[in-house]
């Protein structure tokens, strides 16, 4: 049946895929910005001496890491209305992605900060810097360098994860494929086109990650790609 592969149908549906591509792109960017904020807050809490701040962050990170994103997405999608919060699917989806990726980003930033050697901290202490000055002038500038490549890795994961939003009928790239597949009974055309679009995003981000690693002169450290 694949010999009937219809490029003409794909062309016909291209505007839909274009919209889906744009939707996936911008909802990923918004979610990633949210995830960065969540991650920075979690990481800051996790690095405090106070148990009262540390413990909630640790529990949150572990809970997110030990459960699937799809279950988290359904938790919000079916659960938020229960709390009287009836939000559009798109907002629920972005929220789920940001809350999920935030936990991973918190760990990436923490690894970056902890990778700075004890000697750097001591040099800062010895020259009379306060904790805030050491963080701002010595540790963070170095940590951000080693953090950028794995953060881009996390961005790749987030873009792929965003496909799950199609299951709560957010109009994005995978949803476009599903529509073509069900309207015309052409799953091959639908999903191969979808996959190709994701590959464009993947290779784009991947070369950006490789470029940034070379530019920053750091070896990429472990990420969840």
């Amino acid at each position: 049946m694949l010999e009937n592969f219809s490029f003409r149908t794909i062309v016909e549906y291209l505007p839909l895929f274009g919209q889906g591509f744009a939707a996936t792109l911008w909802l990923s960017i918004v979610s990633f910005a949210g995830a960065l904020a969540v991650g920075i807050i979690l990481c800051a809490m996790n690095l405090q001496r106070s148990r009262l701040l540390q413990l909630p962050a640790k529990i949150y990170i572990d809970a997110i890491r030990a459960t699937p994103l799809l279950a988290q997405l359904y938790f919000l999608y079916f659960g938020l209305p229960r709390l009287g919060l009836v939000l559009p699917e798109l907002v629920v989806g972005i929220l789920a992605l940001a809350l999920n990726s935030g936990a991973y980003i918190a760990e990436i930033i923490r690894a970056g900060i902890l990778s700075i050697s004890r000697g750097q901290v001591e040099a800062g202490i010895a020259s009379g810097m306060t904790y805030a000055q050491r963080m701002r002038l010595v540790i963070l500038p170095q940590a951000i360098r080693v953090t950028i490549p794995p953060l881009l890795g996390q961005a790749i994961v987030l873009v792929k994860d965003s496909a799950l939003l199609s299951l709560i009928s957010v109009a994005e790239l995978t949803r476009a494929g599903q529509l073509l597949a069900s309207d015309r009974f052409m799953p091959a055309e639908g999903f191969i086109t979808t996959a190709a679009c994701y590959l464009v995003l993947y290779y784009g981000l991947k070369s950006l990650a490789a470029f940034s690693a070379r530019w920053l002169g750091v070896r990429p450290i472990g990420s969840r790609t």
Binding site: G119, I125, A126, T130
Partner: protein, 242 residues
């Protein structure tokens, strides 16, 4: 300037400083030596509070460490500390390394800090390396930047924690020469090192430590030609043979 009175310190069950009593006068240069694990690094790390002491008194520049009234951050600006592993900031150039603390801690205007930074770098023989990053410098050059970094804070005391032991042999003398220069300008210095040539040249006193205690003190001449204890004799025979 620096005074230890009955100082003790433990790492868990390990008694690393045993009842240390020792004082260093202004403008005095004291060399601390001893076998590895004898507590000599811990001793000087206590002086600027990189390690905390368990009991006894440690008075630095008239301020008792551990007192509520003592502001450690402020005190540290008066004490330069040179690390064995240099610990230069890898994301900063040589000039940025030496001006970072003056600008942000001492609040010296940038232009002024940079002028004195250039002067200090030139003084340690690195007048042509202002814009080099630490990774572009040899070990000896990095350690000289580290010394300049301390001098830019105009400290009253300089502490050196085995400043030449991470260096290739051919680079040791360039660092020692800079240290001799600093000593000759009248800096109060405490230096953990096994470089006996340096000790003979500028030190007023040698302190020999073993197993966490000060075993012997004396002038370099007394110590090297006529060590008083078996332990110092054994130590000297080992380091002099190499």
């Amino acid at each position: 300037m620096i005074e230890f009175r009955g100082v003790n310190k433990w790492f868990g069950a390990l008694h690393v400083l045993k009842d240390i009593t020792l004082s260093v006068e202004p403008r005095e240069v004291v060399v601390v030596c001893g076998p590895s694990g004898s507590g000599k690094s811990t001793l000087i790390r206590c002086i600027n509070g990189l390690e905390t002491i368990k009991d006894g008194d440690l008075v630095v520049d008239g301020q008792r460490l551990g007192d509520r009234a003592t502001n450690m951050t402020e005190l540290r600006t008066e004490i330069g500390f040179v690390f064995q592993a240099f610990n230069l900031y890898p994301h900063k150039t040589a000039l940025e390394n030496v001006t970072l603390a003056p600008i942000h801690v001492r609040k010296i205007p940038r232009g002024e800090a940079e002028a004195s930074g250039r002067e200090m770098l030139a003084k340690v023989g690195l007048g042509d390396k202002f814009n080099a990053y630490p990774s572009e410098l040899s070990g000896g050059q990095q350690q000289r930047v580290a010394i300049a970094r301390c001098l830019c804070m105009r400290p009253k005391i300089m502490l050196f924690d085995e400043p030449t032991s991470a260096l290739d042999p051919e680079m040791i003398s360039e660092v020692l020469d800079v240290m001799v220069g600093v000593a000759e300008e009248g800096m109060t210095m405490m230096v953990v090192t096994h470089e006996m040539g340096f000790a003979r040249k500028v030190a007023q006193r040698v302190v020999f430590m073993d197993a966490g205690a000060v075993v012997e003190t004396g002038t370099p001449d007394e110590f090297f030609s006529d060590p008083k204890t078996d332990r110092s004799r054994a130590f000297l025979s080992k380091i002099l043979r190499h």
